[in-house]
Structures are given as C-alpha cells and as structure tokens.
Subunit: 370 residues, 4 copies
C-alpha cells in the first residue's frame, strides 16, 4: 500500500473529525503507511494556515480548487456545507482523486445522481461519511443477524432525536429555511437509514408525516419569522425483505442529545441499540431456560473488532471520533483494493432516494414507492 | 356512602383481578364501606362455587343472568371474553346496575355504540377497566403537563410490545383468527390510547400499517393454518391539539413482556415512561444550569397519591394489581356522585372509534379522519 | 387446613400491611380456607374500632391482652414498635398462639433470646416479618445458586440505602436517640442480612464502622440536640462458606428510597439485584459465545412462582405489599405442617446476633467473631 | 510554548495509548505546538523500528537509555511493566527530562519514595498516568462539589471490578505471584483512590480485608499452583475530611469489564458514577418540588470542557483513549508553567501510601493510620 497524500476541504465539526482520523489511523491500526496530511483548504488563506498548523497539515490554501489541481493529492476529504458537496466531489473525481465526502451527498437528489454518475465514470473510490455504521456494535449486530441468532427479522423501529432545535426562544437560523431541506427528515433521516441499509437492506414503500413544533421563531431584529422546515418527521416503511418498519425523527426533542434508538425484532429474538450508549447493545434470544431469559447488555471489548485496535481491555469504551478512524481505515482498504465496509455513492444514493420518497409521501399525503 | 353489593361475571385473568380489588379496596383506602362480594357467575354452577370459595364471594351461579336479575346487586364486574361484553353490559345497565366492564367494550364498533346508548339511558355508572391510567405515575404526568413543566406538547410516541405471539412454533389459536379482530391494533391499541386520551386528548387523523410476522402457524393435526390477524401495527397520528403522534404495537416482540413505552415531547421538556418499570418516570426540563440538565428518574412514593394509601414509604413499589384497586376506588367514588378518574363508556367509545379509524386507514391504505 | 382466626396488634405501616395480606391471601392463592380477621388491638378502644372497620376485622380492643386471652384466636400478628415485641410475642406464644412478629425481634439481644426460648417451649410457629425474602426474584436467585449457574460464590456486597434521615434540617426525633439502637446498623442491617441468610448462609467474622453525617439536629424549641445514633454503617464480613462480604447501610442517602442492592460474585457468573426495581434481576453467566455475553435483565413473570398466583402475564409487576401476601401464605403453610420459606425466631436470632457482633466490632474497633 | 520532543519507552497497552495521545493532542486542542514524536524504545531494535513506523516515531532504539541520553528529548513517557518504573523515571529525571510515567509509581513503596525525592530535586514535571481523573465528568463532579450542590460530603463508596481473573480454569500467570504485589488492592486500588484524591482529598485511617476466590490455578504442565495474591479486597476508610468511606475491588468479577462505581453522599444530594458508562453521571439534589425529585442522568457535551475540543455536539461520547489526550494536554500545560490537573509524583505517593496502609491493615487484621 502506497502512502496516500490527503487533501482536506473544510475544518468545521466534521473537518476536524476527518483530520483527527487521518492523523490517528496509522497508529491505531499499525499495518499501513501513515497518510501524509498534505493540504488543507479553508475559506481564506489566513484561516487555512491557522487550521493547517492546528491540525497538522503541511500546506494551506484559501482556494479549494488548489487541492483539486494538485497532482500529488490522492484523496480529498470534503466536509463543507452540504450545498457544496456536488461541485467539489465532481471536480475531485474528475481530477482522478478518491473522495471521502460527508453525508448527505447533496441537498437535491438530482445533484446526488450526477455525483454518482461521475464516480462511476472515474473508477475512483467515492465514499460517504457515515460514522455510526462503523461502530463495532454494528459489526456485531450484523453478525448476530447473519448467524440467525434472532431468526428472520420482521419488524424494525428507528428513532433519531436531538434537542438543538428544541428551544422555541432560539433565533431563526438557516436550518429553519426551506432552502436547507425538509427538516429533520433529510437532516437526520440518512443516519438511521444508513444503519438500516447496512443491516437489513433497502426500503420498498413509505408513508410519512412531518410536523412543526414551533410555527415561527424570533429574529435578531425582535420580529418573528415563520419556520419553513419540519423539525419532526415520522414514517411508516415496508422493507424489501418484507419487514415492517418505522422511522421517527425529532430535532426538537428536549433531553435527547445524540440518540439513535434501534429496535430489531426477529422470529427468535430482539436487538436494541441506543447511540447515546454507543458501547452497549441489548440482545434477547428466546433460548435456554425460560426462567432466566432476558435482554443481555453486551459491553464492547476486544472480542468486537476493531475495538481491539484501540484498547486491549474490554468495557473501556470507544468514542464518537474513534468511529471516524475506523471509517478512514475502511476507506484506505477500499483504495488498496480490499473489501471494506463503507457507504459509497452507490449505497448513498439509495439512502437519499429513500429520503426523497419519504418527503414526497408527506407532501402528497399517501404511500409512495421508493 | 352505602354498602355496595357486587356481582362478578368471569374469573379468569381479569376476573380474579377484579375480585382482589373488591376485596382490598376498603382496607387500602379506609374511608368507605366494605363492598359485599355478593355473587359470582361462571360457566357452570360447580366452577362458580369453587371460585366463589376461592375469591370470597357469598353466592355462586352457573348462569350470569342470575346476577342481573338479583335485585340486591348494585354493581356488576364483567370480565368475560370481549364478545360477551355487549349483551352482559346492556342487560346489567337495563336492570339498573352500575357496570365495570373490562376493555375493550366490544369486538364490533356498532356493539360498543349500543352499549353507550344503553349506558346513557340508564343513568348508571358505566366504567371500563383500564388499569394503566390509574398508576400514580400517570397522575403525576398529568400534573406535570397541567403545570406546563414541559411546555406545550408537540409530539408523542407510544409503543406497546409483548411476546406472547412471538414464537412461530406455537400452535394456531383464536388470536390468529380474523373473528378475534384485526390483531395487535385492537388487542393492544386501546391501552396506549387510553393513556393518550387521559393525558393529551383526542386523535384527529390517522394512517396505519399492519404486518404479519408469520404467515401461518402449526395446527394440532400437524398441518399449518394461515394467520388471519396482524401481530404488528404502526400508525401515524395527528392529535386534536395539533401534536404529531406515533403508535407502534407488536405482540410478537421477543423479550418485551409488558412494555408500554411513552415519550411526550414539549416545548420545555420531555417525559418518558415504561410500563415494565411502572414505579418510575423520566422527566427532562430545560431549566437550571446547562451543565447539570438531564433526565430525572422519579421513583414513586407517598408524594404521588394514592401511593400513600398502599405504603407510607417511598420507593417500595406498587404492583399491577394495585392499579385495579385504585380503579375500583375511583368507580366507587363515581357511584357515590364524586368526581373520579375513570374511562367511562363515553370515553371508551372515543378510543374504540380511534382504533376503528386506524384499521380503516390500514385496509384503505390512506389517511383517515377519526 | 382449618380456618385460622387472626388477631392483629398495631395498625401502622406494617399493621396495615399485615391486614391487607390476611385479607388477600385466600383469594390470591385460592387453595386454603379464608382466614377470619377476628380481632384487632390498638392503643384505645376508639382507635381500634375505627381501624377494625377500615381493615375488615370483626372485633376491636383497646387492650392487646384481650387478643392473647381470647381462646378463639389462632395467630397473632405483632406490628407494634420494636420495644413491645418481646412482651407481646412471649405472651402470645405462652397462650398457645402462633406468632407473626415484625422484624427485628427486639431492641436488645437478650430479649430476642428469651423470645426464642419461649417459642421453642411453645411448639408454635414463631415467624418474623421479612418481606424482601419473599420476592419471587429471591426464589429465582436461590435456584440459580443451587443449580450452580454462577458456580461457587466467593464474594457478596450488600447495600441498603434510604433518605428519610438525609435532611440535616429535620427535627431531632427518636431515631436519633441512643435508646432506639445503634442507628442504620440495626434499623436496616437485618434486611440485607435476611437475604444473605436465605441465600448464602451464616456470617463468621465481622469488622464494622459507623458514622454520623450530622452531629446534631434542631429541636422544636429552636435549640439543637446531639445525635446519638449512626445513620451510616459499613461492615467487612467473612461468611461461614468462606466468601468475603461487604455490608453498607445509609439512612441519610439522598435519592435512595428503598434501595437494597446486592451483588453476588461466583466462579461462573454474577447476580445483581436492586430492590428499587424489585421485579428485575441481573444475571451474567460466563458461557456461550464471548461476543454476546452480558448481564441479562430478567423480568419476573409466571415462570417465577408464586408470581403466577397474582398475575398470569409476565412483566406486569408485583408490588411491595404482594410480598407480604406471599409471606402470609408461607406462614399458613408452616402452621399447616408443610415446609415453608420463612424467617422463624430460630433464623431471626442468627441475624440479630450478627448485627450485635457488628456493633461490638465497631465499638471495639476490631474484628469480632459472630 | 516550544515544541516538545517526545521519547516513549514501551509500546504495550499504555505505550500505544501514550503514542495516540502525543499524536492527537495538538489537533484536538489546536493551541499549542505539535509535539515531535522523536524516539521510541522497545526491547529490541527490530521491534522498536516496527513500532516506530506504526506509531509515527522518527527514531527507534532497542535500549531505553538511548532516550535518556538523547539531549533533544524533553519528555519521556514510561509505559513499561511497573517494576521498571523507578529505574527509568529516576534516570530520566536526573537527565533533566520531564516524566510521564504510568501508574502505579512502583511495586515497592520505598522505590516510589525515591522517585519522589528525585523528582523534587530535578525541578522537572513528574506526572503519573491516571486517565480516569481526566474524564470531563470528573471535572463536572468537582464543580458540583465545589459549588456545594450536594452539600457537605459525609460518605463515599468506591468499587472497581473487572473479570480478567474470573475464570478459575485460566492458567496461573504472574498476576497470581506474590512478587506482583498484593493483588486487586494495588492492581486496582490506585484508580478509585485517584478519583477520591482529586475529589475528596486524603484518607486518614483504613481497615481492610482480602480474599482469594481460587486457592490454586492450573499450570501449563497440567499441575496446579497455589495462588499467592488476592483478587478481592474490601476496605473501610475514614477520610481526612471526616467522611466515612468504603472501597471494594474485585478482579474476578464476572461480567464487570471496566467498572469503577462511585457513590458520593452529601447533606444536600448524591452523585453516582459508573466508568462503564463514562459519558454519564447521576446527580440527585434535594431541591425543587418533592414530586419530581429524582436522579438526573447527565450526558456529557460541550458544556463539560474539554469535551468541546473533541466534538461540538453533545451526547456523542468520548472514549477511553480520549482521556489520555486530555491528560497529555494537562501535562503540556504544566510543562509550560500553567496550572494543570494532574496526578504528580507528589500526589501519587499519597495514593500509594494509602494502598500500603490498606495492605498492612489486612495483614495485621486491624485499623491502620495512613
């Protein structure tokens, strides 16, 4: 495996997360060349230089196209606001670079489809940032499902709740503008759907509903402005595999901080996961003596790879940022031609088509095929 | 308050529960005449006599009409299979007796409507058995809502899950026959809807989905028979108060034993309740220092009436049967002309109409007004 | 089994609990004659009559000796303050009655020893009220231990915490007087020790410590009075079976309401129980695939007798008062000459000797043999 | 702040953890020069070179003294087995280097005292690796205590349990040899004591007990060898501040993976922490309406610094390795002359003296002053 030269566009929440991952991946996994943190782009040269120093990148630029045109760059991390993803990803792929773009692909489905076309044409790895699927717990759940430990899955419920939009007194900002999307549905929906996609496959039909907890919000000028997006969404689903499903999203859910709650019901057992306790999973299997059946709380440990690459002792806990390191490793494996667990543009488009169908079902007030 | 003479029809799960409640209510509350357990009806004289001895009733009959025609009986507890409710309740009301009938009112909405008409005409108390609303936790939740502690409610999620239909190898029995109803929807739905009714009021529009985890089941003769009911149901709701709602029901949910999970989201906080931990409720309020905000686990105690009538010390725990004692007390208060917290036929019909609308929305594949 | 005539002395917290149990036991278990609630004693004739009406007793007396001298009474429930237990229990036993006396036996070990001598001489059943051991969960734990599911037990930790003495601003009352005993040690200690006794047997050596969270408390006359008892106690134990043990007690533990927390460690697994969630027990066994090992949360149900006598469905929950009904049933079985699970005076004295040894170890600042 | 040149001795569990921290600290905190990972020592040149490549160190050596004698090295991370700490730390300090040595200081108290003397004489920073105190939760707890939110602390219970010695069929290895120390007491004890030290200060008197769950273990040659250490320890404590304390340690506790359980009781509230859920803390305060008091589950977020340096969104979770990054940052601040939260040799010796007193109390069977 050759040394990869990395370009990073954007240094916000996810930009820093990518930088930490590129920085840590070789030390954690110990079996691949250390990536070179070659070039970082921000909105100005000055900010870019400051961030390059902080995050350990060699060079800095105020123009993201300098990364695209730099022939030494092998991989581009794209962590800018969603609206910029299509232009940047397409440019990078066309310039022959691998792309690691934060989810979702785009704010419009048509743009996402263009990104996919470009990726296919390029022959390069085009991966999306979907941290949660990289949790060793998810690998364990897949294994439990594959081994039939809970039998045939017949029902799944997914919830994702946070409270950053819960305060009605918070000022109106862009997340309440229609141009930002539908609301919780596309802001959150892709996350639980990425878990669903990886564990249970595609969605066939959907029927959704959206709601506004607050009809308007204060503006800085002491006025009020009507909220255009929907902070709450609920969706009935039928999966391709025949299972019935439910999706509930709320970004105004007081007290929920990073909750992704998943309940998978099968003919022999049940799995329950809560992202706020990301190092645990609950498993119930209908075997053994009835007197002692119960949900088992499984704590992650070295027996749940690649936890072992981080810590040799069980129960010590991975963090959210560690998931990005795992994703980075999977990306590098894919670039090296190995099999890897990643949401590529091919998978991502399925997720975004599903979200799109959900939105249509809401606006049309009826069931819609994905 | 005069001494009430009680007639009990049926001695199964709920019949015994009624008997225990009639037996205990005076000792627990200590401020009303002890009801006389006057007459018990079962399917045969022999069984009735056996059960009367066990449950402390004075007389026994193999013919439930003997209770109806007995002029000394003031109240009739009806705990027979649902299909018998209409005939028995109507007869009792017409005979001038108060009725305490187990939920649901009937297997057909038209029958329930007839029961309501009769109740209205009789002027007697016609109450339904809805234990869960009697939990002191529910009284606390109502108070939290009334005091605005979580602000205006904008979203609610209700789940009810058990696993008595979870084993695909269990023999086909009547709960899988179409004549028993729709499945989980009417079998379970009324319970969470009774909580919703008491806490947040009526439902306006619904759109549901139902699923069969197992298409057929073994028969005693080693064959297989197609399952006609749906063990899983999911419903989107719009409430009269404008809140968005979600209902999920599963009677084949491995590991869930008596779970009724409720999440109520408001503009200032969130309430979470799980019936499997019926002596606890979670409350999050967005006040105080941000560093120490979190969901509070409130354990019931004497500060949550009428817990204090059972146990003077907090944290010791009520049981499911205690809820029936509270319901019995509320019924007696209503009979005595006091205000009481009860699901009467007037309320019950709303719940059953809601379930009926849900079923129609499923079969018609569209949103339906309740 | 003949009909038992019951006398009840005292109608406070535990008196009411006994009355509820005597009232319910026949209906719950359904296979024994209904006890006659014959006579109730309180401190005045007037109060006794009021309570007899409330609790369903036929006759009332202001003099407890009237119960003792009544030849029709078969069993006497003694639920008065601890200091009265010896005189009443001894009188009842000498009068040829069975005794069901609330724990602890006495405030002084010498009195307890006299009670035991009298019980032995009488040939009557002399049982103590130790509700917690009657939880179906405890029967399950015993079975798990007996079947060797967690192997040989080598360590046990017991905690009991409540917060009724936690407020330093509460007025001085008798529980802070030396005459009431040592403090948490004897007030609480007997409860976890009763679980220990039933599950793991006797204690061999102890070394304890006691502490006063508050040196004095306000008096009604605006003064302050020195606290003479110890609201906190901690004890190291060696059990007869060789296991190491730990006991921690705190009646000024803010937020703990009825917590009895027990951790039992064995060579093959671990059991964890929390009385505040009395319908659950946690079990870890070191078998099966390592990837899916974890603590199982077992919810009680009909598979855990005698839960089934109360409710035929699992996960619905028993309450604290139900435990007394079970104890009552065990007492009746013992009186009928059957084997029963009870803490008799023979067992109770072991528990009180253990507490006494713990107190001595504290005052002498050293290890003491029980 | 100048760029620090780092030397690392040892690359096992903690060596890798140090390397990850040195590698990440600048990117996470973004306000200090990136440390140079200058030189790594392992037991052979070959292994050292392999590990240097993996962990990103520039140079490698098979002789740890090469790090000591390298004048460019500013800080030495010592992560070798405990027995090597004294020689290495003393050499590094005498060579004028700052030292970051994993806990405990030494296997013998006399060696630890020598290390402290050397550190004092050197004027260099001599810090110990005590990850758990760096959890943002601990900073929150300190703040809660300092602000008097739970009033005056009067009782504390600490437990630390894991199960790596729980299997009686595991082969005898060095942790069962007397030369490795007392057992759980010194292996685990320093961790909870480091929390205690940081939150509540010093311990005054102790009385302990130790136990062997298994008297012997199999050897590779199919024989059995007597276990010389104690996998279970329990200790009564009196703290300098007057509070009563309890310490319980078990490294054969099936099902416990990384549990450090802490209960702090005060005159106004209670704090509960469980390291297996390291992103949560429970807080009970006796204020507000009694009806809604309860333990709050506080999830960490940006409001709990330095969580915000890792992730800007709450509830996403830090991992065990992140704690080391925080510790690394604190060390760098101390080296730069700033105030920092660290366990130095000055603090560490207090912890080890406390453990030593506990061991003496066990062997002498009596209370011992620290």
């Amino acid at each position: 495996m050759k040394t990869l030269n990395i370009g990073l566009i954007g240094t916000g929440y996810m930009g820093k997360c990518h930088a930490l991952a590129w920085n840590a991946v070789a030390s954690v996994f110990g079996d691949m060349p250390r990536p070179q943190l070659a070039m970082l782009a921000e909105t100005s040269q000055e900010l870019a230089e400051k961030k390059a120093r902080e995050l350990g990148f060699e060079r800095a630029t105020g123009d993201w196209r300098a990364i695209i045109s730099n022939p030494e760059i092998d991989v581009v991390s794209i962590t800018t606001p969603n609206a910029f993803h299509p232009e940047m990803a397409i440019a990078a792929l066309q310039a022959g670079k691998h792309v690691w773009c934060e989810k979702p692909m785009a704010t419009k489905l048509a743009d996402a489809e263009r990104m996919l076309m470009t990726a296919r044409a390029s022959g390069k790895v085009a991966a999306l940032g979907y941290n949660y699927i990289q949790n060793p717990v998810m690998r364990l759940i897949r294994r439990i499902l594959d081994e039939g430990q809970i039998g045939a899955v017949n029902h799944v419920r997914l919830e994702m709740d946070e409270d950053f939009m819960a305060n009605p007194d918070d000022l109106f900002y862009w997340k309440s503008e229609a141009s930002s999307g539908h609301g919780a549905l596309d802001d959150f929906g892709v996350h639980p759907l990425s878990l669903l996609w990886g564990l249970l496959g595609a969605v066939r039909r959907v029927c959704g509903h959206m709601a506004r907890p607050y009809v308007d919000r204060p503006t800085p000028s002491s006025g009020r402005r009507a909220v255009e997006t929907y902070d709450i969404a609920t969706v009935l689903m039928e999966l391709e595999n025949g299972a019935s499903g439910l999706l509930a999203l709320n970004r105004s859910a007081w007290g929920r901080k990073g909750r992704i709650f998943m309940q998978i019901f099968g003919s022999k057992g049940t799995i329950v996961f809560d992202q706020e306790r990301m190092n645990e999973v609950q498993l119930y299997t209908a075997d053994g003596a009835r007197e002692t059946q119960g949900f088992r709380t499984i704590l992650t440990g070295p027996q749940h790879p690649p936890y072992d690459r981080f810590i040799p002792a069980p129960g010590h806990g991975l963090g959210f940022n560690d998931l990005k390191v795992i994703e980075c490793r999977e990306l590098m494996r894919r670039i090296a031609g190995e099999q890897a667990h990643l949401i590529t543009f091919e998978d991502g488009i399925q997720i975004e088509r599903t979200v799109d169908a959900m939105a249509r079902s809401v606006y049309e007030g009826r069931w819609v095929e994905v």
